[in-house]
């Protein structure tokens, strides 16, 4: 009977079946090692806040509340977008309970698309002009972003691609501040001044710190990291063109652990957490006292696609 079976199966089929018999149990074993469970004493967090800052805070929450936190972090490569797109892709069957973001625009986009139920902002960091002090003193540094188009800074300015992340939000807020026409003129002049368009704000700090560029546009927490690494950089003070960037936290629609989610939601907005983030230089402060750009977020979201298309046409051609 076995001989007949072998002949009917053919030469390689036996090998194929044996291979599948080996592989299938492996997959079954792995699926049984599920990374999440439906226990109510846990909460799933998607955190775009930098892992170095977020992880200790989440551990502290677990210690105080007894609720286990299962976290997924974003990467510098993705600049928040990975988790945002994941939340959108999982909307029909949410896996995440709480979304902790280190900026505001994407949180508002998610709320507008019904992915988040409640959300709130806390603390702030800011967008700053930075200089390499070996080449440019802080006194000589541009006082306004419009000065970045001056010929003396040609080929000496670095900023992240203004199509995503906090750089994009800053550019969009400037569009609201200056008006579309003046803003577009400024963008074209900026691009014509041959800036370094780099992958992220931390790369801006490295570029300026190395002297590849003399001036940069970046986030205050990245400046703090660069200064702690001993780079010769200094940041200009807050002014009316500085964008303030809040941390935001939101509860996903259909969260599987709603009680734990609300617990974490409230914990992250507490003064203790804000102080820890300030101490770690992830935030500058709890409140900026009215400084910085005034942003109408509803209008910004409404004009988002058109403005982004303009940015794409200018900075990607």
């Amino acid at each position: 009977m076995l001989e007949g079976l072998r002949l009917r199966l053919g030469n390689e089929s036996t090998a194929q079946i044996l291979i599948l018999i080996v592989i299938l149990p492996l997959i079954l074993i792995l699926t049984s090692t599920s990374c999440t469970s439906n226990s109510q004493r846990e909460v799933v967090v998607y955190a775009s806040q930098d892992q170095v800052y977020a992880e200790p805070i989440l551990h502290e929450f677990t210690r105080e509340s007894g609720t286990k936190v299962r976290a997924v972090y974003d990467s510098e490569m993705a600049k928040t977008v990975t988790l945002v797109n994941r939340l959108l892709a999982e909307k029909a069957n949410p896996q995440c309970d709480v979304f902790w973001n280190n900026e505001e625009l994407r949180t508002r986009q998610l709320a507008a698309r019904g992915v988040l139920t409640d959300w709130a902002g806390f603390g702030y960091r800011s967008r700053r002009i930075i200089v390499n002090t070996n080449f440019v003193s802080l006194e000589r540094a541009p006082k306004s972003l419009s000065a970045l188009t001056n010929a003396e800074w040609r080929g000496r300015v670095a900023f992240a691609y203004p199509l995503f992340g906090t750089t994009a939000t800053h550019f969009l807020a400037l569009r609201q501040h200056w008006g579309p026409r003046e803003w577009e003129t400024w963008c074209r002049a900026l691009q014509a001044n041959k800036p370094f368009l780099v992958e992220g704000n931390s790369v801006v700090v490295k570029f300026v710190g190395r002297g590849e560029a003399w001036i940069g546009l970046t986030d205050s927490d990245d400046v703090a990291v660069g200064q702690s690494a001993g780079l010769p950089i200094a940041a200009s003070p807050l002014n009316d063109e500085s964008l303030l960037i809040s941390n935001t936290v939101g509860i996903t629609q259909g969260a599987r652990h709603p009680e734990a989610a609300h617990q974490l939601f409230n914990y992250l907005q507490s003064s203790i957490v804000v102080e820890r983030l300030i101490a770690a230089h992830a935030l500058e402060g709890a409140s900026a006292g009215g400084k910085g750009l005034k942003v109408n977020w509803d209008d910004l979201l409404r004009d988002l696609d058109a403005a982004t298309e303009t940015l794409r046409n200018i900075f990607l051609r």
Binding site: T14, V52, S75
Partner: protein, 459 residues
């Protein structure tokens, strides 16, 4: 978009050309080396293949950036298409190298000495190039696909290429279909190349013993061998020596290594297990499906931008009745298998198709069927190439971030994801320490294999 496409094609084309030349020159030299030196050259090639893109880019920016240490005596502008092609070729030359070397392993001394006048450039023209042409062509296609889809290196060097546009569409519109709409060139062009190529021949390796390598040295001649040596030495120094030197010469790298290991050993274990098991499953699937014509479709997930493939997997698996898979570690392995099965399937399938029919018939005459036929006839011939395919999938899986970062479940973080997270904070020493660990994982299978081979030979 036309400008971006042209930039992408030019960058990928130049990178492929350079990488193929580097691979051929280094392969020539390696084929002429005695045993231990040849194995060292192989290890160096594997290290070059496993080198992370940002490490290579940062190394060259240190030397040739606007304030690079070499700029005073080498005023070369690296922020150009040429610079991007140069860096990509330094990362991807091992693919052509391995293809050429495997083809030349099929030669023996009689081939090399059959015609006394066939020496030097004539040897290359009438024997070595014809023997390696098909496999090197396939390697060039794979190289160009990898170069075409690369956006990290061109991005760092300010070269505007199509993958950047794809990423931007995905990031700004939050609509994968918008990104997919502009992805068609990076899918169509490589598929066209794959379809136009003739079927690859696998040359079964003869024992490249000391007599064959000695015959190779003699027949290549001093001029050709010397010039190949110069190119090979430069390639190995620039692609492996320089970045490794930068990595290991920083004392903080070693100071951070114990802490990085202690804090990250679950992540290190994840990386190894996911990569090893994904490569194993990919090879097993390729063995099971090599006869099917539809296997060409396996290339599509490899050619598509990774984040779009991940979104598709989320759409497929994030359903209540499939959560047991989606929320477990299996989703990482399935994702990596889907991503890299294309090249594995081609290599394994080609190896199966070129098994000598006479051997199969002889096996059947000896009453070998089913598993015994596979084990005694097919596997000795296919095994080495399945092993190579496993290793290629293993290394690609180790460094994958584009797909796994989009859907990794809590607790399934890998080294590559952690490195990219840490890049943001400027913790270069920690990043370097983790890169050292990652390189160690990349060469670990080769080292274990070498130990096993030498142990079994002694026995």
């Amino acid at each position: 978009m036309a400008v971006l496409l042209i930039n992408s094609l030019v960058t990928a084309g130049m990178a492929t050309l350079l990488a193929t030349l580097f691979g051929l020159a280094t392969g020539l030299v390696t084929a002429a080396l005695p045993g231990m030196l040849r194995r060292l050259a192989l290890v160096a090639a594997l290290v070059a293949l496993a080198m992370p893109p940002f490490l290579v880019a940062n190394c060259w920016l240190y030397y040739l950036g606007n304030v690079g240490v070499w700029r005073s005596w080498l005023p070369v502008n690296i922020f150009t298409i040429w610079g991007a092609a140069w860096l990509l070729s330094l990362m991807l030359w091992p693919i052509s190298f391995l293809a050429a070397l495997s083809a030349w392993r099929g030669l023996d001394r009689a081939h090399l000495e059959s015609e006394p006048a066939m020496r030097g450039i004539n040897l290359l023209r009438w024997l070595l190039w014809p023997a390696a042409r098909k496999s090197v062509s396939w390697a060039a296609v794979l190289t160009s696909v990898l170069a075409l889809n690369q956006f990290a290196i061109p991005g760092i060097l300010q070269v505007k290429v199509l993958p950047v546009e794809i990423w931007i569409r995905y990031s700004t519109s939050l609509r994968p279909d918008s990104a997919l709409a502009v992805s068609w060139p990076v899918i169509v062009v490589p598929i066209a190349m794959l379809l136009l190529l003739p079927r690859m021949d696998i040359r079964w390796p003869a024992e490249l013993g000391p007599t064959t390598s000695a015959a190779m040295r003699r027949q290549l001649g001093t001029a050709l061998l010397a010039s190949s040596w110069v190119v090979a030495a430069a390639v190995l120094f620039l692609s492996v020596g320089l970045p490794l030197f930068q990595l290991i010469s920083a004392s903080r790298t070693w100071a951070e290594l114990p802490r990085a290991w202690n804090a990250g050993w679950p992540v290190i274990l994840n990386s190894f297990l996911f990569a090893a098991m994904a490569a194993l499953v990919a090879v097993a699937l390729a063995v099971a499906t090599w006869r099917t014509r539809i296997g060409w479709a396996f290339w599509i997930p490899f050619l598509l931008p990774g984040m779009l493939v991940a979104v598709a997997v989320i759409w497929l698996l994030n359903r209540p009745f499939l959560e047991v898979v989606y929320r477990s570690m299996a989703v990482m392995i399935l994702m990596l298998v889907l991503r890299f099965i294309g090249p594995v399937w081609t290599l394994v399938g080609t190896a199966f198709r070129t098994v000598d029919r006479d051997l199969i018939d002889a096996g059947k005459l000896e009453d070998l069927h089913g598993w015994r036929l596979f084990r005694h006839v097919y596997w000795p011939r296919v095994g080495p190439f399945a092993t190579v395919a496993w290793y290629v999938a293993y290394v690609l899986s180790l460094w994958d971030v584009e797909t796994t970062a989009v859907l990794y479940p809590p607790g399934a973080e890998t080294l590559a994801i952690r490195v990219f997270n840490l890049l943001h904070y400027g913790h270069d020493a920690q990043v370097n320490a983790l890169c050292l660990v990652q390189l160690g994982l990349a060469v670990l299978p080769g080292c274990l294999c070498a130990i096993w081979v030498s142990t079994t030979r002694r026995v």
